[in-house]
């Protein structure tokens, strides 16, 4: 992917004049930029992975892997939420490194938009997986927990690199699992609190916001091309 198409004036644009709305050429270039960005981040595969988590949640509800009550009832849903958040964090990997950072002024916005859109998609897919079935906590808890875990994943990506960013949400899930079985009620363990718990919502939202800001401004800590991405093809 290059940013050449973006830097070059779009065909048909009048030199020196600033149009009130983007011309079709600029629009096409913008769409192409977004598509190339999403393709370079393997977003289509990420969406398939998110769909798989939604299916797993459905399977868990159908086959009663998720109990109706008890302290461990939120364990599997919180694991799948953390898995979806890990996908979003891993998607932050840049296969181009420094050249991309040096040329693309839209890069922070693309990072922000992708992370936000994927978070929305993760919530939607998991909510769809739980539709017409009793999931403890409901859709509200899914949204809060996915947002919080995504924040942890994005922060981990900024520290370890995006390819290993799944370690953050997974480690959090282990801690949350212990807290769930021990009936902890701290707002920092979101899966263990009721969906309308204001403290948990604030803490999850805070972590999500910090993660989004960090990933937007700095991006993931990926040292060089070829260290963390996919193989050829």
């Amino acid at each position: 992917m290059t940013a050449v198409g973006v830097q070059r004036p779009a065909a048909g644009a009048t030199s020196g004049a600033v149009p009130s709305f983007p011309s079709p050429g600029r629009m096409a270039a913008g769409v192409r930029l977004v598509w190339l960005y999403l393709a370079s981040r393997r977003v289509p595969v990420a969406l398939a992975a998110l769909a798989a988590f939604g299916t797993a949640l459905r399977a868990g509800l159908e086959w009663h892997w998720i109990g109706a009550a008890g302290p461990g009832v939120r364990q599997l849903p919180s694991l799948l939420e953390a898995g979806a958040a890990s996908v979003i964090a891993v998607v932050a990997y840049s296969p181009f490194g420094e050249p991309e950072r040096a040329t693309g002024r839209w890069l922070p916005w693309l990072r922000l938009g992708t992370a936000a859109a994927l978070t929305g998609a993760a919530v939607g897919v998991l909510a769809a997986g739980a539709a017409a079935a009793h999931l403890p906590g409901g859709t509200l808890a899914i949204g809060r927990n996915v947002a919080g875990a995504t924040g942890i994943g994005l922060l981990t990506a900024a520290v370890t690199g995006s390819a290993l960013a799944w370690i953050g949400p997974m480690a959090y899930t282990v801690v949350a699992g212990f807290a769930l079985l021990s009936n902890w009620t701290t707002p920092w363990i979101w899966p263990g609190t009721p969906p309308h718990d204001r403290g948990a919502a604030i803490s999850a939202g805070l972590v999500f916001a910090v993660g989004m800001v960090v990933i937007t401004v700095r991006g993931a800590r990926d040292s060089a091309a070829g260290d963390g991405g996919d193989g050829p093809g």
């Binding site: 992975a49 797993a56 890990s86 290993l164 370690i167 963390g228 996919d230 193989g231």
Partner: protein, 490 residues
């Protein structure tokens, strides 16, 4: 061939072998230094301290109980992260786009990947054994009886080796940025589903889950530790690990020729057979009073009770004896039982001795305690000790001991899990009054609430202590037999 030529040939072969070993050692050293698992060690250490170590330290200082966290907590906490990081290492050549480069090196793909896997596995096992050492060292300074069990250590090591090799194979065969996280989540889902199936359920294939082997509180105290299930689990996980390693040897990228493929196929088959046989063995498991018994692996000698000299105290004239492993709890037990022993002293059938026994001896009647023998001996199973992870709602250690004693001696049966009060209404009234006398509140006791019972409680509590004791001395056999009604209470 002359002797000199033979000697020369031997020396050459030896030199080749030494050079090969030196080369392999160098390769392993490099892989150890450049392994992603190093960066995971602090996370694993933190998780160990947070979950497994703190949970183990909340248990009584009993070897088997503390060691149970190794498969049930350490493996469960580590497995997903180990599988993910291992998949990351397995995908390295493809990820770094060096497949073409390394194919031209003198070492075949099998050797390279074996070195990477060996280094990854070494870090995993080192981390695990460090946790074992820490846990056992902390336990060694606290225990008063017995020695460390090693089967739980073996099961944990085998389980982690299995997830490490399976993760590595997944990373090798499906190299993608999503493979490590999907492997980690898949292992985690298996754990959660397996844990849900294993906890509270006995028998069947769910016992293959490491979380399914949590022993009772008195495991290894009154009867030897039963290794049947641990043997089957270790066999299952080792079989899976061998099969996963063999799969690496069978791949085209292994580049080892027909001999390697045949050897890998044979090893893989052996691994799968071992896993299959152990699964079949676990299917025949039954839960005995002292643990899981698998007939084909069972040593009948393990059914003989262990010999031990109980530790006793005699503060109230009634000796209180417990297992030496609980020596540090003896002052607490005597302090808890002293007041209730004094309340029933001199009553017909009052125990002349208090003795801790195996849970299996009193649990056969779904009780925590009973009064047996002539002269009567009060036998009880140790309740969850102070700080224990499992506590009965609303009760602490002292209250559990006192409630069990009074309800057993007065009502003839110890409390059930549903509440401390047992027996008919007259028995419950007497138990409530006596337990209030030693300081227990209604929040813990959950006394009967109907008007007649409340009036009887008030009436019986208002009696002078000597009058009440005299009435009990005359009527306690009938009360215990359920022949006294509320109206007959003074």
């Amino acid at each position: 061939m002359t002797a000199a030529a033979m000697s020369l040939g031997y020396r050459r072969a030896r030199a080749v072998r030494v050079a090969w070993l030196a080369s392999a050692g160098r390769l392993l050293r490099i892989e150890l230094r450049r392994n992603a698992m190093i960066w995971l060690l602090p996370v694993l250490g933190a998780l160990f301290w947070f979950d497994a170590y703190r949970t183990a330290m909340s248990y009584p200082a009993v070897w088997d109980l503390r060691a149970s966290v190794l498969p049930a907590k350490v493996v469960i906490d580590f497995a997903a992260l180990v599988a993910g990081a291992s998949a990351w290492m397995g995908a390295r050549e493809t990820r770094c786009r060096t497949c073409g480069l390394v194919t031209t090196t003198p070492q075949p793909g099998w050797t390279r990947r074996s070195a990477t896997l060996a280094a990854t596995l070494t870090w995993v096992i080192v981390a695990y054994l460090a946790c074992v050492a820490l846990l056992y060292a902390a336990t060694a300074v606290q225990v008063t009886w017995g020695g460390p069990p090693w089967w739980p250590v073996a099961v944990g090591a085998a389980a982690l080796a299995a997830v490490c090799t399976i993760g590595f194979a997944a990373g090798t065969f499906f190299a993608s940025r999503f493979t490590p996280l999907l492997t980690a989540v898949a292992v985690f889902v298996l754990e959660v589903v397996g844990f849900r199936s294993a906890v509270g359920a006995f028998g069947g294939y769910r016992l293959l889950s490491p979380a399914g082997s949590a022993p009772g509180q008195d495991a290894g105290l009154f009867y030897p530790y039963l290794p049947d299930l641990a043997i089957a689990q270790a066999m299952f996980f080792t079989g899976l690990a061998v099969a996963a390693v063999s799969a690496l040897g069978l791949s085209r990228a292994a580049g080892g020729g027909a001999r390697l493929r045949v050897a890998a196929a044979a090893a893989g088959l052996a691994g799968l057979v071992a896993a299959g046989v152990s699964t079949g063995l676990v299917g025949t498991a039954r839960v005995g009073p002292n643990g899981v018994v698998i007939a084909a692996l069972h040593d009948a000698g393990s059914d003989q009770p262990l010999r031990y000299a109980p530790v006793c105290a005699d503060a109230t004239g009634v000796p209180v004896c417990i297992h030496p492993a609980f020596r540090s709890y003896l002052p607490k037990v005597t302090a808890a039982l002293g007041p209730v022993i004094s309340l029933v002293a001199g009553l017909p059938g009052a125990p002349v001795r208090v003795s801790e026994v195996a849970t299996s001896l009193v649990a056969s009647t779904n009780q925590q305690a009973d009064v047996a023998g002539t002269p009567p001996v009060y036998r009880f199973a140790m309740p969850p000790t102070p700080g224990s992870f499992v506590q009965i709602a609303g009760e602490n250690f002292t209250q559990s001991l006192q409630i069990a004693f009074v309800t057993t001696v007065i009502g003839g049966s110890a409390p059930s899990a549903n509440g401390p009060e047992t027996g008919n209404l007259a028995q419950q009234v007497v138990e409530t009054v006596l337990l209030r006398r030693v300081g227990l509140t209604d929040g813990t006791l959950n006394p009967p609430t109907n008007a007649a019972a409340v009036a009887a409680i008030r009436r019986f509590a208002a009696l002078p202590a000597a009058t009440r004791h005299a009435w009990l001395a005359a009527h306690v056999p009938a009360l215990r037999a359920g022949q006294i009604t509320l109206a007959e209470l003074p």
